[in-house]
Symmetry: C2
Subunit: 696 residues, 2 copies
């Protein structure tokens, strides 16, 4: 009878489930801002935003600000659908008045004032900033504040005083392993602006491609890029585009390793014999520049000189990572040089190379940035260390007087959750114990989008929305660290980024549609149900478990390429299980929702299998689909056992764990995300424990 009553009540319940397989337990944030500002005081009421909305600039004036105003109004029109007059004015009677005090530096510098104050009242808004950089950040804040309300579009009355925690807040995009077209670069710069990042680190050369036009050495891009490179004019356009958004562009030319593509046209730079071909596979490879060859430095002098003119930023990244030394070991001339100059090992040889290159960079008016490896004894104090090794490495550098930025923990390609990235703080671990002066040397951090398993099509979805969590870590006060609040705002900013043209959400649907072919809507929905709860394997597992050796010619059209790197539905299910278990299984609504979700999963496979028998790309996840069904069945059994209020027998538990063990094995390089949450249910059922008390 109780069973019947519960089923009778399924109407509304089913509906909830239909709508949202797993409901979020995240708290509603007070302000839909990401990153959260340094401080905010709520006011009363809100400022209406309708077709009469206007913007004016006062104080310092420059074309970049006018363009920022145009862009702001276009974006506001797009996100509201209001027909706004698309030109900012000069009158202090505008709805939003932007007062900028003075110009920022001609070439944007590290550590410039980026602060702003934004006051919104029911009658108008005032944005005040020392420089255009702050003004532009404040405009992004205002855009985020405008939301639909019962009275129309509006921004809440408040006062925000904001400035960044760290001066170096970067995103690195590897355009070398997979070439990333300019329109994709540009829209990612738009997204960086939206979350107040200020350094675009452009990884431009690799074993797999030299992606920059060199007029001095045209064989570099002509022979080293398959025709996929940026012209100097295009790069200048990107730099202007980024500057317009308060973003510096730091180019990286990785050397002496990671440079096979250079050697296709210029084998004389290499330590091996050649000839060389563009590398098609992924990994660490032998080719490296010859540090003992003076012609190499002459060449680099000219190339760095050329590129220093293209890229105005004061910093110039020379890479320096992952040299395996095999070509050096095998070259008798190099070995003789080392002996003659007392260079003891390859590390010392690389230090010698880095030192020489660093001088060339200095000669051309730039400061060197390099990966951890470039920090060796005697390197000048002004270089910046980008650390893939972590806070300990940075802390050590800071103690020696070197500045650094953190990238360890911010590798977007590893597929970590936003929460995991979010928890990584540049000033935690060893860095937390530095003196105040030493801490100043930790400039911030950079997320890194390495591109082995990234295509121009899906790169947005590999960067966003997770990168926004890193952006907040680098901008907001250290105390801002609640993952539930972050996830709620990530959902919000994720939707907003679509208005900027980012494809991080839409691409997943489109790619799934491709691999489903002309499926029925029902089958396609079943594929999406599965896709919603799987994630690509983490860290470097994908390369290690690839069915065939992956290369730049491998199609990127599989399920593993289509699904987001983090499953929202999986996270929500896990939250719901925690919520259910936290009250000792006495939450009938949560239980009902869990049941409905588990039933969906249990039954999904029957719908999906026919499609798997028609599409080789869906067939790849046929076993994962069966695992999801098994997970649904196991979860339902656990709930049934819990409902009995008695610890389930050990034999049952063993049986369920055997299923879980099978389910947890990655298949088709995919993980089934709800497995640990279902395991919790099984453990609760087996333990009885808090669930053993009869329900009220």
């Amino acid at each position: 009878m109780a069973q019947n009553a519960r089923l009778q009540g399924l109407g509304l319940l089913v509906l909830y489930i239909l709508l949202n397989p797993v409901m979020t337990t995240a708290q509603e944030p007070a302000l839909n801002l990401l990153p959260l500002p340094a401080s905010a005081q709520s006011g009363t009421g809100s400022l209406g935003v309708d077709s009469s909305f206007s913007v004016a600039f006062t104080g310092h004036s420059e074309p970049r600000l006018e363009r920022a105003g145009d862009r702001f109004l276009r974006q506001l029109a797009r996100q509201t659908g209001l027909p706004l007059a698309l030109k900012p004015g000069k009158t202090a009677r505008a709805t939003l008045v932007i007062q900028t005090d003075h110009a920022s530096k001609e070439i944007q510098e590290l550590g410039e004032d980026e602060s702003y104050v934004l006051e919104v009242t029911t009658t108008g808004a005032k944005l005040t900033a020392p420089t255009p950089l702050g003004a532009m950040h404040g405009l992004q804040t205002f855009l985020q504040l405008v939301d639909v309300s019962l009275g129309g579009f509006a921004a809440p009355a408040l006062t925000i005083q904001d400035k960044p925690r760290f001066p170096w807040r970067g995103l690195m995009i590897d355009s070398a392993r997979h070439f990333i077209p300019l329109d994709v670069i540009r829209r990612n710069i738009d997204a960086m602006e939206a979350v107040k990042m200020n350094v675009f680190h452009w990884h431009l050369s690799e074993n797999q491609g030299f992606r920059v036009e060199s007029r001095k050495f045209p064989k570099l891009h002509e022979m080293g890029s398959d025709g996929l490179y940026y012209t100097q004019e295009e790069m200048r356009d990107v730099i202007t585009y980024a500057r317009d958004r308060g973003i510096r562009v730091v180019p990286e030319f990785d050397m002496p390793g990671h440079s096979t593509a250079w050697f296709v046209g210029h084998p004389e730079l290499a330590s091996g014999k050649g000839p060389y071909e563009i590398e098609r596979k992924w990994g660490i490879f032998d080719p490296a520049m010859d540090p003992t060859n003076e012609k190499v430095y002459k060449f680099l002098d000219e190339l760095i000189g050329e590129m220093a003119k293209v890229f105005p930023d004061h910093y110039f990244h020379i890479g320096g990572d992952e040299v395996n030394g095999k070509e050096w070991d095998a070259n008798p001339k190099i070995q003789a040089f080392m002996k003659a100059h007392g260079i003891k090992n390859n590390e010392a040889l690389q230090a010698y190379f880095s030192g020489r290159v660093q001088k060339l960079v200095t000669k051309h008016g730039k400061t060197v940035v390099g990966w951890d490896e470039v920090l060796v004894a005697g390197v000048p104090k002004d270089i910046v260390i980008q650390s893939w090794r972590g806070q300990a490495s940075l802390a050590q550098a800071a103690k020696q007087g070197y500045r650094g930025i953190l990238s360890n923990g911010y590798y977007l390609d590893l597929g970590w959750s936003a929460a995991r990235h979010y928890a990584v703080d540049p000033l935690s671990g060893d860095a937390a114990n530095l003196s105040a002066e030493e801490k100043q040397r930790i400039l911030g951090g950079e997320s890194c989008m390495w591109a082995e398993y990234v295509s121009p099509e899906n790169v947005d979805s590999r960067i966003w929305p997770r990168n926004a969590a890193i952006a907040e870590r680098l901008w907001s006060p250290q105390e801002v660290r609640d993952p539930a609040s972050m996830y709620a705002r990530l959902e919000f900013i994720g939707a907003r980024l679509e208005w900027l043209g980012l494809a991080h959400r839409s691409v997943s649907r489109n790619m799934l549609q491709r691999l489903a072919g002309s499926s029925s809507p029902v089958e396609f929905a079943a594929l999406r149900t599965l896709a919603d709860v799987i994630e690509p394997v983490k860290d470097y597992t994908r390369g290690q478990t690839a069915p065939a050796e992956p290369s730049s010619a491998t199609p990127m059209n599989r399920v593993v390429d289509a699904v987001p790197l983090e499953s929202d539905a999986g996270r929500r299910f896990s939250d719901l299980v925690d919520q259910f278990l936290a009250v000792a299984c006495h939450d009938p609504a949560a239980e009902a929702r869990l049941r409905a979700q588990l039933m969906t999963w249990r039954d999904n496979d029957a719908i999906l299998q026919p499609l798997a028998q028609r599409s080789f790309l869906v067939k790849e996840v046929a076993a994962t689909s069966q695992d999801l069904a098994a997970l649904g069945t196991a979860g339902l059994a656990a709930l049934d056992a819990i409902a009995k209020g008695q610890p389930a027998p050990d034999s049952w538990k063993a049986q369920q764990f055997a299923i879980l063990e099978q389910v947890k094995k990655p298949k088709a390089q995919l993980l089934l995300i709800p497995a640990p949450a279902v395991q919790k249910l099984i453990e609760a059922a087996a333990a009885g424990g808090g669930c053993s008390t009869p329900k009220p």
Copy 2:
């Protein structure tokens, strides 16, 4: 007990419902081609399409074909995700060999040979065409044939012999009432190519805007467009772009009415006193050119001369529709002229004007196209009538020796279903009785996208996918007319068009997201459930029922702007009801699906109302949401009554009909689409009838 058993079985059922509220009953088409070809013979097996796929041209060669080959390969790469070599070759050993016999005309002409033959075998494909026009059509057919299969991407082995039924297959876009940016124009031309339409009719001037740069009379666009116009260079680019896709561009300059925007800069052309302002509202307005003023003809001579050079097509559209004559009546000079020249009425005056303009068009080497009104006694036989009046008007014209194209029945802005447009045949009605020679004069048709209620943002969704049904009507044999097959293929082509960059699907979701603001995923899903089953009011009801007088300044951000013009879910529900009733209500699976869908609707309102209380744009549909709940409840009651196997009492029927009457009233300019299908259930319940036999 039966009730209990049914509910117990809800698991899998619920899942189906979750996935697809109403399942389609459409037959699976043999070939996923739209438009269907003139003839197709199936072969055995299929041709695999993998990274080694190649294309080569043989026979006639021209740069346009090479570009078509590039485009084809890019599109194939996009739709498969395969890394293809993106350059066609010249070798007959390619996977797909395209043999073109000879060039088409320098300026694409009406009635050129567009035929092609496509043979696909397991080892390769051959496309043969007399001209590049046929070759390009064949490439589109091949793209549609490639789909995912168990063995990889593949095209089925077959032989297609294809050619169009009509030589004039057009889409008109009104860029004047709302300006449509070039990127939107271009992607719609891409979509036209995909469905083999060959005339882009560009409606360029209106009361609300003169959208073309005139170098001779710059005040036309400078004062008549709010700065929203196309430069001559941009138009030439569009013409080249269209020619590259086998599409002619026919410009329309509407006169003597629909021309207020001309008069802002040139009041001397008008029949009234002026001054004039750009019209902001919609409707038929008084301003009209002065047919009695020789300066008008001198002006038009120069303007037509200028535009005839910009637009190379042999046809030139002079509009000619909807002159209300009020300015003529009020102008004594015009009245005196009419008396002096024996012009009896305004119709005759317009005929005089059309005759004069027609001579100017002829002088500049073009043939006139005009709306029905231009066909008056004495007009030369070479003009082409575009009929908004219908087949009878066209048939009458054809009997008199005039050629015509049908647009009546193809007005996309009226919000008709694809099936309703699809049923309209240029050679039906009076036209069906014409002689063979007269039938030749019916050149085809044009769909029309009038832009009162269309924005650059949502215009794709107002044209597609429904326009593809019209494209098929104009291309495929007359016997191809099964709406179920059409709908199945429309679903397919709808997905494919997204790969071309059309936004007809994605925009709806994005616009709903905007008006939902920072809603929870659950609330947003509830909004989508409602949005899935509503359509904007039809025909001219939107303008007639607008809450405030609509104008070009009215925001286009409401639910009525966001939802598609045709509800797929509504159609599927109606199909399911028909299926259920066709077997005298003896289809338990269909009944279960109906119940689940109706329960969803019944319960959706409770989830949506909180959002309606936070968003003024959602609040607009609060009543419609309640109606949907009422419809769900009524439908469930009908199913319960049917299950009893007895005719329901008259009082019950009256009660349900009262609910239906309420639900059927448009609210917020929206219709609740499932109402008639629920009415059928209620009628069946009331009648007993076929439902009265006890279930087996």
